[in-house]
């Protein structure tokens, strides 16, 4: 017997829309099985995973804090991936954005002006963009594989951050802790609704980035250029688009958004530089980008859902003592079912039973 995936002649528009919801349903069913095996009450577990984080206003704020870097980075990556450039180094660009933006409040901590924060954000975007243009330069100049070079630059960025907070930028009044000076008030990204929780302007940036990227991809010639070059470099050349310029555009666009996410995180949630500023946002954002099918609007929804599973994992750990690895398994379920549903929209599974006579000779 053979199992084959056969391409469907046409795919259903209805199921294309339903697919993420079916996937979510299947994830919940698989979750129930998993929790039952672990001797936990599945209803309680699902409640603490999906409902509890949404019941209180402060935890909605936490959701926005977790979701906004994921969305910012993933929106940038979606444009990059659509142009067939594989930037796996958003984590490094996030870190470098954080470092570049922090230069102002750390080196000029006595400078007090309303310009400090906007300049920090711009520096953060420039830092991320410059760092992302390294793999772009290597790719266009030396034909280097950008997946490897951008990924390796993540580790360079992590070690550079580690060195800078232990070395030159260590807080002179900080009792030798590996931390920078705490940012003054003018260098801190303000909270949106300080009365109810600590969500900051990062979520506003995420919303703006989503709208801008959606508009560009949907209506602008630039977005068209991204899709054409992503699908066929030859056709792009025929259209008069430059593949090399697109490599730079894609990396700089995604690097700038990752850098903005980095400085927003450092300035808004952490308030200083420290050896580790990201729990892997740059890598999780790759999952978010694909869960959202590389569509900015889809990515916004996917970012919220993935942030929810992070918070839910923490909540379940506290309320019913579920190990935090389970949250990762749960995220894995989600990704698996989304990809499986998408595949089955375009293909059908066929079981082929071959009789002995025809399978007896298997030729070269």
């Amino acid at each position: 017997m053979r199992i084959e995936l056969e391409r469907r002649p046409s795919h259903s528009a209805l199921f294309s829309i339903l697919s993420p919801f079916i996937a979510l349903g299947l994830t919940i069913i698989a979750g129930i099985i998993l929790f039952t095996i672990m001797d936990k009450n599945p209803i309680d577990a699902l409640y603490s995973f999906f409902i509890e984080p949404l019941t209180e206003v402060w935890s909605l704020h936490e959701l926005a804090i977790k979701a906004s870097p994921l969305i910012l980075i993933a929106v940038g990556l979606s444009v990059c991936f659509r142009s067939n450039n594989w930037n796996i180094g958003a984590e490094g660009q996030f870190i470098m954005g954080g470092v570049a933006g922090s230069a102002i409040p750390i080196l000029f901590h006595e400078w007090n002006s309303f310009l400090v924060l906007p300049m920090m954000l711009i520096m953060g975007m420039i830092g991320g963009a410059l760092y992302a243009s390294i793999p772009a330069l290597l790719k266009t100049r030396f034909n280097t594989n950008e997946i490897l070079s951008s990924l390796m630059l993540v580790y360079v960025a992590q070690l550079a951050l580690d060195w800078i907070v232990r070395g030159p930028w260590r807080n002179p009044e900080g009792y030798n802790f590996p931390e920078s000076r705490s940012f003054e008030l003018q260098a801190v990204l303000p909270e949106l609704l300080p009365a109810s929780g600590r969500a900051n302007f990062g979520i506003v940036f995420a919303i703006l980035a989503t709208i801008v990227a959606w508009f560009m991809m949907r209506h602008m010639l630039k977005g068209f250029e991204v899709s054409v070059l992503g699908q066929s470099a030859r056709a792009g050349r025929f259209a008069g688009f430059s593949a090399n310029k697109m490599v730079f555009f894609a990396f700089i666009f995604s690097g700038a958004l990752a850098g903005l996410a980095g400085i927003s995180e450092v300035s808004g949630s952490i308030g200083r530089l420290q050896p580790v500023i990201s729990p892997g946002y740059g890598f999780t954002a790759i999952i978010v980008a694909f869960l959202g099918r590389l569509n900015p609007l889809g990515i916004f929804a996917a970012g919220i859902i993935l942030a929810l599973t992070y918070l839910g994992g923490e909540a379940a750990q506290i309320s019913i003592g579920l190990p935090d690895k389970i949250a990762r398994v749960f995220q894995g379920f989600l990704l698996f079912f989304v990809l499986a549903c998408d595949t089955l929209i375009h293909y059908r599974v066929r079981f082929k039973f071959t009789d002995r006579t025809s399978s007896s000779v298997e030729g070269a």
Binding site: P9, S227, A235, F238, A239, S358, E362, G363
Partner: protein, 524 residues
């Protein structure tokens, strides 16, 4: 249906009501086919008629949905190419599967089911190639061989299996007329030994020349079985196309002195190890002229197209001139703004993005030249899809593009219809210069004649046209002057009325063909 079987022949292969369904498409619908021993049997049909599907089922690479195959009167199931070879069916594919870095003998050894030493194979191959008049040096590296010689390897490789039926898929599509003549001699030797050949083609003259019987397919259905020699090309074409093919009228318009395309000692180095270097190409095309550039595939046609279109720029601006401007350093968009239009050879992934809609493919080629109508919003460059769709519908109507649905994806159109759209996309702009590469490659006869007529009409309206084509009939049909490209060099342009098939053939194979023949015979 007439049965032309004569008394002494017996049926080698019989196919009864074979059907293959892909999804909702019936690629083969109840096809019957009979091949007698020692006959050359033609399988005729346009691209997409179902010839390849049928042959793949005979060679075991596809499983029929229903129907029966009989080999020497016994029903058989052919589940794999290995099984087909074991029965005695050999196949020479249109696209060769050879390793360029290996020698002829090594390539043959790779395809053998049994273990034979390379030396043994080299000897057998040398014997066979002498017997069948296929000059071939078993120790030559494939990379150094011409297309015709590579095809000989495939044929020798098939003959080594001692098959009773040899399937040849469009064998002459890559050959010069002289090389094709040699192939026909070989096929006649094969027939004389009592073997049979299934000869797939859509070239009617060839089929009439060498085939004993023909089976004609159209849209997956059998439309005729006949003796091709008793038919006229027109009647065969009718079976393939379904209606009489409209012939192209070429009145030959006035040619003015206004030079619109000029190449002066144009040279370009090879960009990859497999590309062809262009050497000192001189070309002038005047308004009203159609220059046909003939040549065997892979002699620099696509490289020439790239430097003329500006997809590749050259060192000196003066090397290429379009409408009086030196454009050697300018890209394709700038050349389009001067009034040039371009149709590349490959439809999917070059002239069009397969997964994009027709109107998006309109933006692809015309976003610069039609920026006033197609774009808005200043530097934001917002695409006005309403205007694009309007232009797209105009072309669909003008060129009679058949498709399903409104604004479908390019990949859902048949080759001919997509090509009509791509050519129409350029014609709609009334370009003063048009450069097309293989305009009717893999296109059905109806669409091909429509496209050729459109090229002639454009030239008559005062544009300069360059048609790069491997199809000599096409060149003679449309061109006012003809040149031949061979190994990156362009022969002098001569008026079409003074060119003969023989002369083109010599220029095409030219020095290249003679050279390699000599090498091969020296080797013994």
């Amino acid at each position: 249906m007439t049965n032309l079987e004569t008394g002494q022949d017996h049926c080698l292969l019989e196919v009864r009501g074979i059907t293959k369904v892909f999804g909702e498409l019936r690629a083969n619908d109840a096809i019957d086919l009979e091949i007698n021993s020692s006959e050359i049997h033609a399988l005729l049909g346009e691209n997409g008629a179902g010839k390849s599907t049928l042959v793949k089922m005979l060679f075991g690479s596809l499983e029929p949905t229903s129907g029966q195959i009989l080999w020497k009167g016994n029903p058989v199931t052919i589940a794999s190419p290995g099984q087909a070879r074991a029965l005695g069916i050999g196949m020479v594919f249109q696209h060769f599967s050879l390793f360029e870095a290996l020698t002829v003998a090594e390539n043959i050894a790779l395809s053998m089911d049994q273990n034979v030493s390379i030396e043994g194979i080299a000897e057998q191959a040398a014997v066979l190639s002498r017997e069948y008049g296929l000059p071939l040096d078993p120790h030559a590296h494939v990379a150094d061989l011409s297309v015709g010689e590579r095809q000989r390897i495939e044929i020798v490789r098939t003959l080594l299996q001692n098959p009773e039926l040899i399937i040849l898929d469009e064998p002459t599509s890559v050959l010069t007329p002289q090389e094709a003549d040699k192939l026909f001699e070989t096929l006649e030797k094969i027939r004389a030994e009592g073997r049979s050949v299934l000869y797939i083609s859509h070239r009617l003259e060839e089929v009439q020349r060498i085939c004993d019987r023909a089976t004609v397919l159209r849209h997956g259905k059998l439309t005729g079985a006949c003796d091709p020699r008793a038919e006229t090309p027109a009647s065969l074409a009718r079976m393939m196309v379904g209606s009489d093919v409209k012939s192209v009228s070429n009145k030959g318009g006035k040619i003015s002195d206004n030079i619109l395309i000029e190449a002066n000692k144009l040279s370009a180095p090879a960009r990859t190890p497999f590309a062809v270097e262009l050497k000192d190409i001189d070309l002038t095309v005047r308004a009203g002229e159609i220059i046909g550039i003939a040549g065997v595939a892979g002699n620099g046609q696509s490289e020439l197209f790239d430097v003329l279109s500006g997809e590749e720029t050259v060192a000196s601006a003066d090397d290429v001139r379009i409408c009086g401007s030196s454009v050697g350093r300018l890209g394709i968009s700038a050349r389009r703004l001067l009034g040039a239009g371009f149709v590349p050879e490959e439809r999917h992934g070059h002239a069009a993005v397969s997964s994009m809609s027709l109107s998006q493919n309109m933006v692809l080629a015309r976003h610069r030249s039609d920026a006033d109508t197609f774009l808005t919003g200043g530097p934001l460059k917002i695409i006005r899809y309403a205007a694009v769709r309007e232009a797209s519908e105009r072309i669909i109507k003008e060129m009679d593009v058949r498709m399903s649905g409104v604004d479908p994806e390019a990949e859902s159109l048949s080759g001919g219809n997509l090509q009509k759209y791509i050519v129409g996309r350029e014609l709609d702009r009334q370009p003063s210069v048009l450069i097309v590469n293989q305009p009717t490659w893999g296109v059905d006869a109806g669409a091909a004649s429509r496209i050729r007529q459109a090229l002639i009409d454009l030239a008559e309206s005062g544009s300069a046209v360059v048609v790069i084509s491997q199809d000599l009939d096409e060149i003679f049909e449309v061109a006012t002057s003809i040149a031949v490209i061979n190994e990156g060099t362009l022969s002098a342009v001569e008026p079409a009325s003074q060119m003969t098939l023989e002369r083109i053939g010599l220029l095409m194979g030219g020095i290249h063909g003679e050279d390699t023949d000599m090498e091969a015979s020296h080797a013994h």
